[in-house]
């Protein structure tokens, strides 16, 4: 799995962090998403797919 972010699109909703806190975080100043792990281990994959699906700004891309 490889995750890429379109930081420009992120609207700081924080939904990704609620779903996959080990993979995503938010910058303190403006809440913009920060990627903690671009190639997370298998046990995180379901949560990452869920995060990508619910991100209200479609800012999270997941390959494979």
């Amino acid at each position: 799995m490889n995750i890429t972010l379109d930081v420009d699109k992120c609207c700081a909703a924080g939904q990704c962090v609620l779903v996959a806190p080990e993979v995503f975080d938010q910058r303190d100043e403006d809440g913009i998403v920060v990627l903690l792990d671009a190639q997370p281990p298998a046990e995180q994959h379901a949560a990452v797919h869920e995060a990508a699906a619910i991100c209200p700004a479609a800012a999270i891309q997941v390959d494979a």
Binding site: D8, K9, C11, A12, A13, G14, Q15, V17, L18, Q26, R27, D28, G31, H49, A53, I54, P56, A57, A58
Partner: protein, 412 residues
């Protein structure tokens, strides 16, 4: 009898999330996505923000690339309107004359901008719901300063007023509520927003819209319900929305009084589900029907509806699950971002904690019947804002929630 097809009507946030969830959930049969706009699924929130301001071009709005959509292996019918649904036989009629037999239908037709009779085609009068609306308004606002009246001071009117003002136009915001977004966010947060619009030079008036004045097919002003008039060369109607259920009205088995009424599984009838702005479903946690016009809900509800439909069709061995989200929405005005969890609408009580007026840091609690149902915050660090979600994740006694809110924002 199964025909091997699911149809999703409405090709926007909810419709897209539905087709994706259907494929992820194991639907390998035919999948038809019907949308009456000519565009591939795009995102609406930026229309009144980055697109209107000119920061973004249209290409940033696409929710998926063409390749991603291709991979879903669907029959996509854009520029095509569904004109009827026979819920009993699950047959869909399209405006190109096609009739589709299906095993299941997900209704995701959203809402349309309300307008006033006779105004739609007038030069200078705009609504803001679709990409075409937004591009039309943007072109109109791209030249010399205009005299813009925004009719309606809900979230849409407020955001558009802020952007237009930042573009240098003369902006008057008129609404029935004395405070911007006041009906939703209450007096405390409403007053903060009013001060923000004031500081940026937006003129604010209280009043209902009666109609517009015209000369030679162009708008020249706005008539208010109290008899007053305002000069304007541009009018944005931001006076609310209507669920797109006209096409469902012919089937008496469906309740379309305010959106399509569904049960807690998002089902309106056997094999017929709804999601997004159009769906009014029973939220067991809140003990009432809700219809939520927020971006996040469109996706979450579509995923839930799709999963439940797959269970009903026997594709998934799971159980159907009630849809009980903690709703979320945000709004950007000037540099300020409002974020809210839970349900604010219909509150009979609101309490605002103004943490720092200069920094526009605020938190607020909303509720009804002694229960806290929603929170709102602006200007707080993301960790604190996420922490607020827990305060109302399930509606609970007001006092308890109030204490937890104060603790969460460090204001005990």
């Amino acid at each position: 009898m199964t025909v091997g097809r699911i149809a999703v009507v409405g090709a926007s946030a909810a419709g897209l999330a539905a087709v994706e969830a259907l494929r992820r959930g194991g639907w390998s049969g035919e999948l038809t996505l019907v949308g009456d706009e000519p565009h591939l699924p795009y995102d609406r929130p930026p229309l009144s923000k980055q697109l209107l301001s000119g920061d973004w071009e249209t290409d940033k709005l696409g929710l998926r690339t063409a390749e991603q959509l291709d991979a879903l292996n669907m029959d996509v019918r854009l520029g095509t309107k569904a004109t009827a649904l026979d819920a009993g036989t699950r047959t869909l009629t399209l405006d190109d004359g096609d009739r589709l037999a299906t095993d299941g239908v997900i209704v995701a037709t959203g809402v349309r901008a309300r307008t006033l009779p006779g105004l739609a085609r007038l030069d200078g009068v705009h609504t803001l719901r679709t990409l075409d609306d937004a591009l039309g308004l943007r072109t109109w606002l791209s030249g010399a300063p205009r005299r813009l009246v925004v009719a309606g001071n809900g979230v849409l009117g407020c955001e558009a007023a802020a952007v237009a003002r930042e573009l240098g136009h003369e902006v008057t915001l008129v609404g029935r509520d004395p405070l911007p977004m006041g009906r939703l966010v209450g007096d405390g947060v409403g007053a903060l927003l009013a001060a923000e619009h004031e500081r940026h030079g937006v003129r604010q008036l209280t009043g209902g819209l009666d109609g517009v004045e015209t000369a030679n097919g162009r708008v020249t002003g706005v008539r208010l319900a109290d008899g007053g008039t305002l000069e304007a060369d541009t009018v944005l109607l931001a006076i609310g929305s209507e669920p797109a259920v006209d096409w469902l009205r012919a089937d008496a088995a469906l309740d379309t009084a305010d959106g399509l009424r569904c049960d807690e599984y998002c089902a309106a009838a056997p094999g017929v589900y709804a999601a997004g702005d159009v769906a009014r479903w029973y939220h067991p946690g809140h003990g009432r029907h809700l219809r939520i016009e927020h971006r996040m809900n469109a996706t979450e509800q579509a995923m839930a509806a799709a999963k439940n439909l797959l269970v009903e069709l026997g594709v998934s061995q799971d159980e159907r699950r009630p849809f009980t989200p903690v709703p979320y929405f945000w709004s950007d005005q000037y540099g300020m971002k409002l974020q809210a969890y839970g349900v604010l609408a219909g509150a009979d009580r609101a309490e605002t904690v103004l943490l720092d007026k200069e920094q526009r840091q605020v938190a607020a609690l909303y509720g009804r019947d002694g229960q806290a149902t929603g929170v709102l915050a602006a200007g707080l660090p993301p960790r604190q804002i996420r922490g607020l979600r827990a305060v109302i994740a399930t509606p609970g006694p007001w006092e308890e929630a109030h204490q937890r809110l104060l603790a969460a924002v460090g204001a005990e």
